[in-house]
Symmetry: C2
Subunit: 344 residues, 2 copies
Amino acid sequence: MGVTIKDVAKAANVAPSTVSRVLADSSRISADTKKRVRRAMKELGYHPNVNARSLANRSTQAFGIVMKSSADKALQNPFFPEVLRGISSIAHQLDYSLYISTGETEDEVLESVQRMVYGNRVDGILLLYSMVNDRVMNFLFERKFPFIVIGKPCEHMDSITHVDNDNVTASKEITNRLIDLGHERIAFIGGDEDLVVTVDRKRGYQLALQESGMLLLEEYSVHTEFLKSGGREAVHELFNLPDPPTGLVIVDDLMSIGVVTMLEELGKQVPRDVSIVSFNNIHMSEIARPSLTTVDIHIYELGRQAAKCLIEKMQDESVPTKRIIVPYNIKDRQSTQAREETLL
Amino acid sequence: MGVTIKDVAKAANVAPSTVSRVLADSSRISADTKKRVRRAMKELGYHPNVNARSLANRSTQAFGIVMKSSADKALQNPFFPEVLRGISSIAHQLDYSLYISTGETEDEVLESVQRMVYGNRVDGILLLYSMVNDRVMNFLFERKFPFIVIGKPCEHMDSITHVDNDNVTASKEITNRLIDLGHERIAFIGGDEDLVVTVDRKRGYQLALQESGMLLLEEYSVHTEFLKSGGREAVHELFNLPDPPTGLVIVDDLMSIGVVTMLEELGKQVPRDVSIVSFNNIHMSEIARPSLTTVDIHIYELGRQAAKCLIEKMQDESVPTKRIIVPYNIKDRQSTQAREETLL
DNA sequence: ATGAAAGCGCTAACAA
DNA sequence: TTGTTAGCGCTTTCAT
């Protein structure tokens, strides 16, 4: 079907190996021959066959992208497309291709990753999440397959290159926004407790409270995948406490938007009755009402950095383990207001 | 590095071709041999090399997924992850892998697609959008490369298999919701006019108005990629008209949420002052305030159907062109109310 | 600076 | 039912 290297060789009156060298832009081919060969390639409409090349090379120019199993609706979160944009900006520039994991359940995702690895489909893998005891990560780690984590690996942190934000500090800082505004009853709403990002953000929240001499109330920490049915009840419970919170630290903008709605059902307004801060600065958080005070974690940049690290690692296994912390910054918007005002 | 078919052959005391046949589960291998070979594969930890297989086979078990250039923020739209879920549910089940296009600009996306095609990386391609004069589509069409469109191709409709909703009818029906509620000044807010989906939905809107004997006002049709800066102005203009609309048909839930916010800036409430209907039924539309009356187009199903068609086509080029219409249904929620109430 | 030839791991005639 | 052999298209020594 296709034009092969041989056809080009014939047309340019050289050996196939020469054509191959021209392809690689080898320095030991005369400029003249290169020109001739290149012209032949153009004329015949030649395009190298990636599979053949991978086979001879044992290197695909591709890497795999693994997201959490799509069963949980986390995927609905714009985090994913945005990080993908970052990744592909680098991938495209360096002529790498992207493979993407499939699978609804954890098992299926693992299978899918194994196919990538064993089948030699990719030279490296990007993990778009980090959770405790993750089988995909363990698998990759044990096989010593090149991979990078976006987020903080909970094990072998020093031997797994990863790209992350300083979530603890960010969370502390944004919690302090609430404290500075005079809030004294501040609750935390997180998602899946197995996700390291949840753990870190909760930690920052706790640190902030402690440093201000505030108590950590057990019942002020709620974990719920709010997109599922349980979320609504959890929020209702929280606000049925004798001393309901006036400030909320929520791990994700999307969750915040949901919570705002739930609060309204309870007759509470944001920020009048409750102030909310959250994370990610998804586009929506600017558009929502009220617009959300949130931590911009620079998702796009997380993707770019991770892709860079991975490519580096794929090209040279011996590159040392890295830990890249992408800076965050806080967007002050309208979901927060001083507690004093509330009391007036 | 890896265990090859030869190693397995040696271990099982058969010829490599036998192993290959076992891999394909050929019917002309004795159950006994199969068992022996399979055991050897297990013991040695054998996994086939996909590249070698593709090369010998001229068939990768993969297909490419092309989205609009990520430059426009359309990607932030949950449509993408959701359709991807649908696609991968089928892909995984049938052991197909997914390749994903990269590129910020239209040029880059085309390049990326050409790499997929020419490089033999994929056996078929799924186009996740449809726009007029799309170079990617033209390229695929001219090369007679197997591909499926999600949406309605604007050219060669009868020779390109596609999966779509009946957007015209859906739009007509949802516009009628507004008309039935007594609204008489109904405007349309669409996105990129090059997208066929925008065109269809606008058409349905127009039909509904006409059939009710209402006038089509030029100034009642706004096209704006609201995520960009111009959106706000466009909406403001619309409501600064001498006779501002009381009903809005908006092509996308995400846009609706933005518009709700903008209206609020103008001192208008939804649905009290303005009723809104839109499309897609993204998860957010249930959570937003007000929750959105919208057309559920079954994004997940669009993905599944498209993936099925593509695989069918990849396996048998001669399968006839198809046109699959995924049914929609309308979710009545709180962004609409009767015009009469407004007048009280 | 270029060519010849072996081989990457697998499949698919063709034989047996 | 199984083995032999010749590629798939490219890269890469090793010669020249």
